[in-house]
């Protein structure tokens, strides 16, 4: 198995799918000559030419809308947005069009579009470039949402996203681009809706979203070494469709659940999962479901403030221990 970085895995997925299908093409700001703000598209312009690797003006709403329009009549566009915050400029096209078109026109067309974007804090990019908005997109029926946390998943899920006939919001993480990992030839899962059990355990279920899947694993190591608690760590990998069954099975075994995400608490992924777990596994729970989320603030620039504003393994350890409190 090859070892490669997360960004290289994404690059391979794009290259392989472009080789396999002439209708796959890329659009985005500075993805061609500049090779991508995070170098995910490095080398692709040279290999595939300007027809298929298209540098665009800074017009997010229109780029995404053109992706939707071209997808409606048979192309398979992959649009890169420079950060998740910029995707807000395209919210109209994503929610009112990409997600709704098939439904509102009675199933006459499909929209096989992928919109890729990185999210996350840690690079001191401040309050307009550092957020985590998977909860926004999870909210919308008609969209698929992927949040890969490993190079293998990045490759496998991006390939699956491009082949899928639905519009996909593909959320990468800025601090993961340089992470290395083993990647099978075709990447990780080639379909959506399959959670990964990153670590098995009987005592508490810890569900980590996006980069927080990695933070959850670090916390699980601490829990085992210092507290003799064996955590089961689950990475849902895709939030729509959601592999709820794997999560429920785990909770039914451990009787405790902690959900870790980097985004805001109100209306977050954790709020949603906690509701689903208590509705469907209430009788199995020995403690209230714990959430660990990012701070309820716009992301600050100053390094200590920024680091204090999103979860680290210490936060997760405390949340897990809280599920063992005497009730």
């Amino acid at each position: 198995m090859a070892v490669m970085r997360y960004r290289e895995a994404l690059n391979q997925a794009l290259r392989e799918e472009m080789e396999a299908d002439e209708q796959v093409f890329l659009m985005g700001e500075d993805i061609g000559v500049f090779q991508g703000a995070f170098k995910v598209t490095a080398g692709l312009l040279e290999e595939f030419g300007e027809k298929r690797v298209r540098d665009t003006p800074i017009s997010e709403n229109t780029i995404v809308g053109m992706g939707v329009g071209s997808a409606m009549i048979g192309l398979r566009p992959v649009v890169e947005l420079m950060t998740v915050n910029f995707s807000l400029l395209a919210m109209d096209q994503i929610v009112n069009h990409a997600a709704a078109i098939r439904y509102m026109f009675g199933g006459q067309v499909k929209v096989p579009l992928v919109v890729r974007m990185p999210q996350g804090a840690g690079h001191q990019l401040g309050p307009t470039h550092s957020h985590c908005f998977e909860a926004f997109y999870l909210h919308v029926p008609g969209l698929l949402v992927a949040v890969p946390s490993t190079p293998a998943d990045a490759k496998g899920l991006l390939k699956a996203a491009i082949r899928d006939d639905n519009p996909v919001i593909f959320i990468e993480h800025e601090t993961l681009y340089g992470q290395r990992g083993e990647v099978p030839e075709n990447g990780g899962p080639l379909r959506f809706g399959e959670a990964a059990i990153r670590r098995e355990g009987d005592d508490v279920t810890v569900i980590g979203i996006s980069r927080m899947a990695i933070t959850a694993q670090k916390a699980a190591d601490v829990l085992a070494e210092e507290h003799e608690i064996e955590a089961e760590v689950i990475d849902p990998r895709t939030l729509r469709p959601l592999d709820l069954d794997t999560i429920l099975e785990s909770v039914e075994k451990t009787n405790r659940a902690v959900i870790v995400e980097e985004g805001w608490p109100h209306g977050g992924v954790g709020a949603n999962l906690a509701a689903l777990i208590q509705e469907q596994a209430f009788d199995y729970l020995d403690a209230p479901v714990q959430r660990v989320t990012g701070a309820d603030v716009p992301m600050p620039y100053s390094k200590p403030l920024e680091q204090a504003a999103f979860p680290h393994e210490e936060h997760v350890v405390h949340a897990a221990l809280a599920t063992f409190r005497d009730l």
Binding site: G65, V68, G106
Partner: protein
């Protein structure tokens, strides 16, 4: 809300805005085409007019819900422009698009059924008045977001180019859309990438209730795209032949030379923005002035004057249009409402299997996957029925849960009264007489849009 003062100011500006002299309003600018073409054009315009009038009546009778935006007054623009398209070209429009669908050939039955929210509607009752769609005729939709369809249309043009076809797209917008950010963004990209698209501004003088000179600093809208590299021209939107000539030329330029074009058709909508519009922003006199330029009367008169048709023949064409609309109304009335179990259909495209939760139904304590609505327990179905009963339309039999069946079996929908295996449904249908409860008269005073 505009005062009477503002209205009189609008009247002053009016004299300038339509650019009467420059466009040559009311002048004969083009020779007539052959008689068959004249018949087609006049029939289409008459059909749209009669269809829209009927839609207005059906709205007043509460057969049609939501917003209803009528295009009466704009028929020449719609028909002139769409007649310029090849069969393989694409068309996109705004939410005022009943006329566009009809002009493109979508059956009036399917359009009226969509307005009625019925399963035989051209969007299966999912879209309504603002979201008509007909893939077969390459009518790629009405869109409810002002300016929202502009990027989509450029995307279609990109695909036409990418796939190395000769197809082009005609992308329609209203005058209000020229103030949206997507207008500039899309013009820039269309010109930059040399896309086969013609943008048509249907300038009906108002962005909802705000007059052109009160919403746009530049009132010659054909100028607004030029700085982005898309040349603009204007035409007399009340003259079907002028619209046709100008759009034909623009399409040729976009298709053959890969130079996207913009056309502004200067026209007028006689009716309010929607049915919920008290029209306090303009005077009756202003509407009357425009009605004197009526595109259908003007064209019909010319056909009679130039001995193409007799007055009787014109009347016959109009009577035919009314018959088609009668039939559309009958068809829509008889078409069933969509099956309640179909609620989650077409949210997603499923490939082979559904391994996870794609949608979550939380309407009842029996939480289930929306995509498995048909297999949900009794309570979800009972509550769906109870919810649907609040609609206060249709009969119970039409809303009955049907046995799970292949959703693609179009044309096999049961009509009312055909559900003979369901005794209860039959009883209810009988009890409610003709099915439809007496339509309430609609209160038109409230609501925006």
């Amino acid at each position: 809300m505009a005062t009477r003062d503002a209205t009189s100011k609008e009247k002053d500006a009016q004299a300038e805005v339509p650019g009467g002299e420059e466009i040559g309003f009311g002048e004969v600018k083009h020779g007539l085409p052959d008689a068959e073409t004249c018949r087609t054009v006049l029939s289409k315009m008459m059909l749209i007019r009669r269809f829209e009038e009927r839609a207005g009546e059906m709205y007043a009778k509460a057969k049609i819900g939501g917003f209803l935006h009528l295009c009466i007054g704009e028929e020449a623009t719609i028909v002139g422009a769409t007649q310029a398209l090849a069969e393989t070209d694409y068309l996109m429009s705004t939410y005022r698009e009943h006329g566009q669908a009809l002009a493109r050939g979508t059956p009036p039955n399917a359009v009226m059924a969509e307005l009625f929210g019925r399963v035989d509607g051209c969007s299966k009752g999912r879209g309504g008045s603002m979201h008509l769609f007909d893939w077969e005729r390459r009518f790629l939709g009405g869109y409810g977001i002002v300016g929202g369809s502009l990027p989509l249309s450029a995307g279609v043009a990109l695909a036409c180019d990418y796939l190395e076809t000769d197809d082009a797209i005609l992308s329609m917008m209203g005058d209000g859309a020229t103030n949206q950010g997507t207008f500039g963004e899309t013009m820039n990209l269309a010109a930059l990438w040399k896309l086969p698209v013609v943008f048509l501004i249907i300038n009906n003088q108002f962005g909802m209730g705000t007059a052109l000179h009160r919403h746009s600093a530049v009132t010659d809208l054909s100028l607004k795209s030029e700085g982005f590299g898309v040349p603009g021209t204007r035409c007399d939107g009340m003259d079907v032949l002028d619209v046709h000539a100008v759009v034909t030329e623009a399409l040729g330029c976009a298709r053959d030379e890969r130079k996207p074009q913009l056309v502004e058709a200067v026209t007028y909508r006689y009716r309010g923005h929607s049915m919920a519009d008290p029209e306090e922003y303009r005077s009756k006199e202003e509407v009357e002035e425009w009605r004197e330029r009526d595109p259908i009367n003007a064209f019909a008169k010319r056909l009679v004057d130039e001995d193409v048709f007799t007055e009787d023949e014109v009347k016959t064409l109009d009577a035919e249009a009314i018959e088609i609309v009668d039939e559309a109304q009958r068809f829509a009335d008889e078409s069933p409402f969509p099956d309640l179990d179909s609620l989650y259909d077409d949210v997603y495209v499923f490939s082979d299997e559904v391994p996870a939760w794609w949608t979550v139904d939380e309407r009842t304590p029996e939480v289930h996957r929306g995509e498995r609505e048909r297999e949900a327990g009794e309570l979800p179905h009972e509550l769906a029925e109870k919810g649907a009963a609040y609609a206060g339309v249709g009969d119970h039999a039409q809303r009955q849960r049907r046995a799970p069946k292949d959703q693609d079996a179009e044309g096999e929908q049961q009509g009312p009264g055909e559900e003979d295996e369901d005794d209860e449904a039959e009883a209810v249908a009988e009890a409610s007489g003709n099915g439809e409860p007496e339509a309430e008269e609609r209160d038109e005073s409230g609501g925006a849009g």
